[in-house]
């Protein structure tokens, strides 16, 4: 079933060959493990590539102050870079979610890492915010980022036998958690996210309209009672979402199923207080 000479992504990832008898088998195992760290390596490369892009844009424009067409060039270029990292992570996450690797602890761990790497653009902003606002050391962010992803890549390369066993969840417990997650999400959508997105979209009309709408909707979500409730609900979403995604990491997934879990991790990273 496993063919060491097959070099397609799915075949490499699906390979569970742990034998050491032949050189070809060793190569297959090494190749597979290297493939499993690709999303982590892409995430690691994101800040240096973004810096390189910035330097190139400043060089071409002649100044760091953006105006005119360079604004849109920088928008398209930075989004392309972010989407490239996310696309690689998505492809690996999707391939690792195929039925061929569903019970493989090494694949499950790499699949989780691919999900985290998918959130790279926002996770890196989180690192920057902690470095700037909490540690008051902005230069610490790129260094901490490299160390973080180096450790994550090492986790992917660890022997699969040392992988932790997934926490068990009964079907009834899972159903209740899904229901609670959905009800809590609906409340957050109604009280905060829906009005907040409409409010920001209104900024397309002009800044004054945005401010006027903001002053109205803030009366709801910054209310002395509503605000703590919202924060508690967001906290519960993070906890229940983590448990649900963790469970899904051990199950096969289709395209939209992978979109769901990857967007879940992305939302979790945004919501996390970093």
């Amino acid at each position: 079933m496993n063919r060491p000479r097959e070099l397609s992504l799915s075949a490499i990832i699906a390979s569970k060959d742990a034998g050491t008898a032949s050189l070809l088998r060793l190569s297959a195992v090494s190749l597979r493990r290297l493939c499993l760290v690709v999303p982590a390596l892409c995430a690691m490369a994101y800040p240096p590539l973004l810096s390189l892009l910035s330097s190139g844009l400043v060089l071409v424009h002649g100044s760091a102050s953006p105006n005119g067409v360079i604004v849109w060039v920088s928008v398209i270029a930075s989004l392309t870079l972010a989407l490239a990292v996310m696309l690689v992570s998505f492809v690996f996450g999707l391939a690792l979610g195929s039925p061929h690797v569903r019970d493989d602890p090494e694949g499950g761990r790499a699949r989780s890492i691919a999900h985290l790497a998918f959130a790279t653009p926002t996770l890196y902003v989180g690192f920057g915010n902690v470095a700037y606002y909490v540690l008051q050391a902005p230069s610490a962010a790129p260094i901490a980022w490299l160390i973080f992803w180096a450790l994550v890549a090492m986790i992917a390369l660890l022997d699969p036998r040392s992988s932790p066993i997934a926490a068990a969840m009964t079907p009834i417990g899972h159903r209740r958690l899904v229901l609670a997650h959905g009800v809590s999400a609906s409340a957050i959508l109604l009280l905060f996210i829906g009005p907040h997105i409409v409010n920001h979209a209104a900024g397309f009309w002009n800044g004054q309209v945005h401010i006027a709408i903001m002053n109205v909707v803030r009366r709801v979500y910054r209310n002395d009672i509503v605000q703590p409730v919202l924060l508690a609900l967001i906290g519960s979403q993070i906890l229940s979402g983590t448990a649900l995604v963790w469970r899904r990491m051990r199950m096969p997934s289709d395209f939209l199923g992978t979109v769901q879990t990857m967007s879940a991790v992305f939302v979790g990273v945004i919501s996390w207080p970093i």
């Binding site: 800040p47 973004l50 892009l53 910035s54 844009l57 400043v58 424009h61 100044s63 760091a64 102050s65 953006p66 360079i70 604004v71 920088s74 928008v75 270029a77 930075s78 989004l79 870079l81 972010a82 989407l83 653009p121 926002t122 890196y124 902003v125 989180g126 920057g128 915010n129 902690v130 700037y132 606002y133 909490v134 959905g182 999400a185 959508l189 996210i193 997105i197 920001h200 979209a201 900024g203 397309f204 009309w205 002009n206 800044g207 945005h210 401010i211 903001m214 939209l256 199923g257 979109v259 769901q260 967007s263 879940a264 992305f266 939302v267 945004i270 919501s271 996390w272 207080p273 970093i274």
Partner: protein
């Protein structure tokens, strides 16, 4: 969230003016591009996740996979359009 709470704690209102100062655009410098993807992808990820969650609910209610997938993809597309409008506004593009 750290940026918002730290700024609020310091007594600054985290409103549109804070977000787009000083030139009515969130892009202050070409040396700091990381916020572009962060702001664009945030609303998309939330709407996408809600769309996929709705898809699961509809599938459990025996709606056909073709219909549920179509609804989810339509919502995701709407999320991309909405987020692009928000980003354009943050970059000082307005219709009035």
């Amino acid at each position: 969230m750290t940026a918002v709470f730290a700024t609020r704690h310091a007594g600054t209102d985290t409103n549109w003016i804070w977000l787009t100062r000083p030139n009515d655009s969130m892009l202050v410098s070409l040396s700091n591009l990381r916020l572009i993807a962060h702001y664009w992808l945030g609303p998309i990820s939330i709407i996408t996740h809600v769309a996929c969650g709705l898809r699961m609910v509809l599938l459990q209610r025996d709606i056909s996979p073709a219909t549920t997938n179509l609804i989810a993809l339509a919502l995701i597309t709407a999320g991309i359009v909405t987020s692009s409008i928000i980003l354009a506004a943050l970059l000082n593009v307005h219709i009035a």
